[in-house]
C-alpha cells in the first residue's frame, strides 16, 4: 500500500498544459527523484500535491485518505511537508524563530518547541547561526533553513524542491549527506532536482517529466540509458547514441 498515490493528475493554466495525466506512487521509506527539463511541470506538481493548487483532473491519496480539498496546512499536519524552490525564509525572524514555526506544528508549547528547534538546528548544522536574521543568510544557509524548518514539523514525507540549486560542490556534498541521514531515519523523500550528482547519489527510483507528462520511470541506471529521457534533455539527435 503506497504512502502517496498520484493518479492521472492534470493542470492547465489558460491554454498551457502544465501537468498532463501524471500518475505515480510513492512508497513509505522511499527516496524518489523527480527530474526533467525546465518548465516540465515539476514544481506545479509539487504545488498540487502540497495543496497550493487544485488539479483540474485526477486523484491524490495520502496515508489512506484523499487529499482533495485539503489546504496546505492540513496536509502538513498529516505529515507531508514541502520546501520551496526559491527559498522563503521569514526575513525578520531569527533562524531559531524560523525553525520554531515549524516545531510548533509538532509540539504545542513554546518552550518544548524551542528544544525541538534547537535539536533540528544542531542536526542541520545551523546551530551557530541561530540568532541571525532570515534575510541576512547566505544561499547555502537558506537552503539548510528551508530543510530545517520542514524537518521541525516532524514529517513523514518531505517534498524537496531543488534544494541543491546554486550550491558549490562542497556544499552539495554536505547536503547530500544530510538528506541521506534524514532518509535513513525513515522519512520518505520526494525530491525535485537538476543536480545529477545528487539525483544519482540519493535516489532509489527516478521519475522523468517533460512538457507536463511522465515520460519515464525506473532505476537510476535505467533512466540514464532511456532514449526518451536523453531526447528530452539533449534533443532528438542524441537518443540513438550509446549511453
Amino acid at each position: 500500500m503506497s504512502l502517496l498515490t498520484v493518479e492521472n493528475v492534470s493542470k492547465a493554466f489558460g491554454g498551457l498544459a502544465a501537468v498532463q495525466g501524471v500518475s505515480f506512487a510513492l512508497g513509505e521509506g522511499e527516496l524518489l527523484a523527480l527530474i526533467g527539463p525546465n518548465g516540465a511541470g515539476k514544481t506545479t506538481l509539487f504545488h498540487i500535491i502540497s495543496g497550493f493548487i487544485k488539479p483540474d483532473t485526477g486523484e491524490l491519496r495520502y496515508a489512506g485518505g484523499s487529499l482533495a480539498g485539503l489546504r496546505p496546512h492540513d496536509i502538513c499536519r498529516r505529515g507531508m511537508v514541502r520546501t520551496f524552490q526559491v527559498t522563503r525564509p521569514f526575513h525578520r525572524l531569527t533562524v531559531m524563530e524560523n525553525v520554531l514555526v515549524g516545531a510548533l506544528e509538532r509540539v504545542a508549547h513554546r518552550r518544548q518547541a524551542a528544544k525541538v528547534a534547537e535539536e533540528i538546528l544542531a542536526f542541520t548544522g545551523l546551530a551557530e547561526k541561530a540568532d541571525q536574521l532570515g534575510h541576512s543568510l547566505t544561499l547555502p544557509d537558506r537552503k539548510r533553513l528551508e530543510l530545517a524548518r520542514a524537518l521541525a514539523t516532524g514529517p513523514r514525507v518531505l517534498l524537496l524542491d531543488e534544494v541543491m540549486a546554486g550550491l558549490n560542490p562542497a556544499e552539495t556534498g554536505r547536503l547530500i549527506e544530510l538528506i541521506r541521514t534524514i532518509h535513513r531515519r525513515g522519512i520518505t523523500i520526494l525530491l525535485i532536482e537538476h543536480i545529477m550528482r545528487a539525483v544519482m547519489a540519493l535516489s532509489q527510483r527516478i521519475l522523468v517529466l517533460n512538457y507536463g507528462e511522465l515520460i519515464a520511470e525506473g532505476s537510476p541506471e535505467a533512466i540514464v540509458r532511456n532514449s526518451k529521457v536523453i531526447e528530452a534533455y539533449l534533443g532528438e539527435g542524441y537518443s540513438g547514441l550509446d549511453a
Binding site: H73, C76, V81, F90, R92, V101, H109, R149
Partner: protein, 320 residues
C-alpha cells in the same frame, strides 16, 4: 536585573503621581497619548503582528462607541457593560469582513481597500440613522457617575486610559510569547511559507482580527464618555482610521513599545507645533505627522523604536 526593577518601580511611581502635579493641559495631553497608544496597540495586533494593514479600524472604534452609548441611553445599561457588548459586536463584524477578505484571498492593497470600503459604508449608513444622531451627531449627557463611566475631573480618566493601555499592552505581551504570536509573525513575513509549515493562516488571521477589533471597540467607549459627542464624519472617517494607525507605524509596528513611543512622539510634536506656531497651526501638526510618516517609511521602515533599539545595541558593541 535589580536596575531594571528599580527603574520600573520609579517609572510606575512617576506615572501614578504625574497627573496630580500636571496642569490641566498636560493631563489632557497624557490622556490623549495613552488613549492613542491604546488604540495603536489594538491595531498593532492585526497590522503589526499579523501584518494585515487595515485602514478601517474607525469602524470598530465606532461600533464600540455607538453600541455602549445606545445601550446606555435607551436601556440604561452601564457603559462598563455596554463596552463589552460593543467589543463583541465589533469582533463579530471583523469576522464578517475577515471571512470575505481572507476567504476570497484578498491581500495587501486589496485587503486595505476592503477595510476602507466597509468603514465608509458604515459611515454613510450611520449618517442616516436617527438613533445614531444622523448629521447632527449624538450628544451624551454628562452625569459624573463612575458606574456610568463618567468621572469628574481629568484624573480618573487618566488612570482609566492608563489601565486600558496596560491591558492592551498586556494582551500583546501575552500574544508575543505564545504560539499564536509566533504564527502571526510568520504569517506576516510569508503567508504561503507559513501555510506550508502547518499554520492555519485563515484561522489565525481571523483570531487576530477579532482581538484587534474588540480592543479597538473598547477604546471607542472611552472616547464616547470622554468627549461626550459622536459624529460619523469624525469617528467613522478615513482620517480617523489613519490617526489610529499612524502612531504604531511611526513608533514601530510589531513591537509592544512601538505604539506607545509613537503616540508620545506624535503628541509631543503636535503640542509643540500648536504652541509655537499658533498662526496656521490648524493643519501644521498633521503636516508634521505626514512628514514623520514619510521619513519613517523611507528611512526607518521598522519604526522609530526598533531603529533606536538597533542603534543603542550597536553603540553598546557586542553586548546584545
Amino acid at each position: 536585573m535589580i536596575l531594571r526593577l528599580v527603574l520600573g518601580l520609579a517609572a510606575g511611581a512617576g506615572l501614578v503621581l504625574l497627573p496630580f502635579v500636571a496642569s490641566s493641559v498636560w493631563q489632557n495631553l497624557l490622556i490623549t497619548t495613552f488613549y492613542f497608544a491604546y488604540l495603536g496597540q489594538a491595531w498593532n495586533v492585526l497590522g503589526g503582528y499579523a501584518g494585515q494593514l487595515s485602514l478601517g479600524h474607525a469602524a470598530f472604534f465606532s461600533i464600540g462607541a455607538y453600541t455602549s452609548v445606545v445601550l446606555h441611553t435607551h436601556l440604561g445599561l452601564s457603559p462598563w457593560f455596554g463596552m463589552l457588548a460593543g467589543a463583541v459586536l465589533a469582533a463579530l463584524v471583523s469576522q464578517g469582513i475577515g471571512f470575505l477578505g481572507f476567504r476570497f484571498g484578498l491581500r495587501g492593497f486589496y485587503f486595505v481597500l476592503l477595510t476602507l470600503a466597509v468603514a465608509e459604508i458604515l459611515r454613510l449608513v450611520a449618517l442616516h440613522l436617527p438613533i445614531l444622531g444622523g448629521y447632527t451627531g449624538l450628544f451624551i449627557n454628562f452625569t459624573p457617575n463612575p458606574w456610568q463611566f463618567q468621572f469628574k475631573g481629568k484624573i480618573p480618566y487618566y488612570f482609566v486610559a492608563l489601565s486600558f493601555l496596560g491591558l492592551a499592552s498586556g494582551v500583546v505581551w501575552l500574544i508575543e510569547r505564545s504560539k499564536f504570536g509566533v504564527y502571526l509573525v510568520a504569517i506576516r513575513e510569508d503567508e504561503d511559507a507559513a501555510e506550508a509549515l502547518g499554520v492555519d493562516t485563515f484561522r489565525y488571521k481571523m483570531l487576530a482580527y477579532a482581538v484587534s477589533a474588540a480592543l479597538t471597540a473598547l477604546g471607542g467607549t472611552f472616547y464616547a464618555y470622554y468627549q461626550f459627542y459622536l459624529q460619523p464624519n469624525t469617528v467613522l472617517s478615513m482620517h480617523h482610521s489613519v490617526d489610529i494607525m499612524i502612531r504604531p507605524i511611526v513608533g514601530g509596528s510589531g513591537t509592544i513599545l512601538g505604539p506607545i513611543l509613537g503616540s508620545f512622539l506624535l503628541e509631543l510634536m503636535g503640542e509643540f507645533s500648536r504652541t509655537y506656531f499658533a498662526a496656521g497651526a490648524a493643519g501644521l501638526y498633521v503636516v508634521i505627522y505626514g512628514l514623520l510618516l514619510i521619513v519613517v517609511v523611507l528611512f526607518l521602515p521598522r519604526g522609530v523604536y526598533p531603529t533606536l533599539l538597533g542603534w543603542f545595541r550597536r553603540a553598546l558593541g557586542r553586548h546584545a
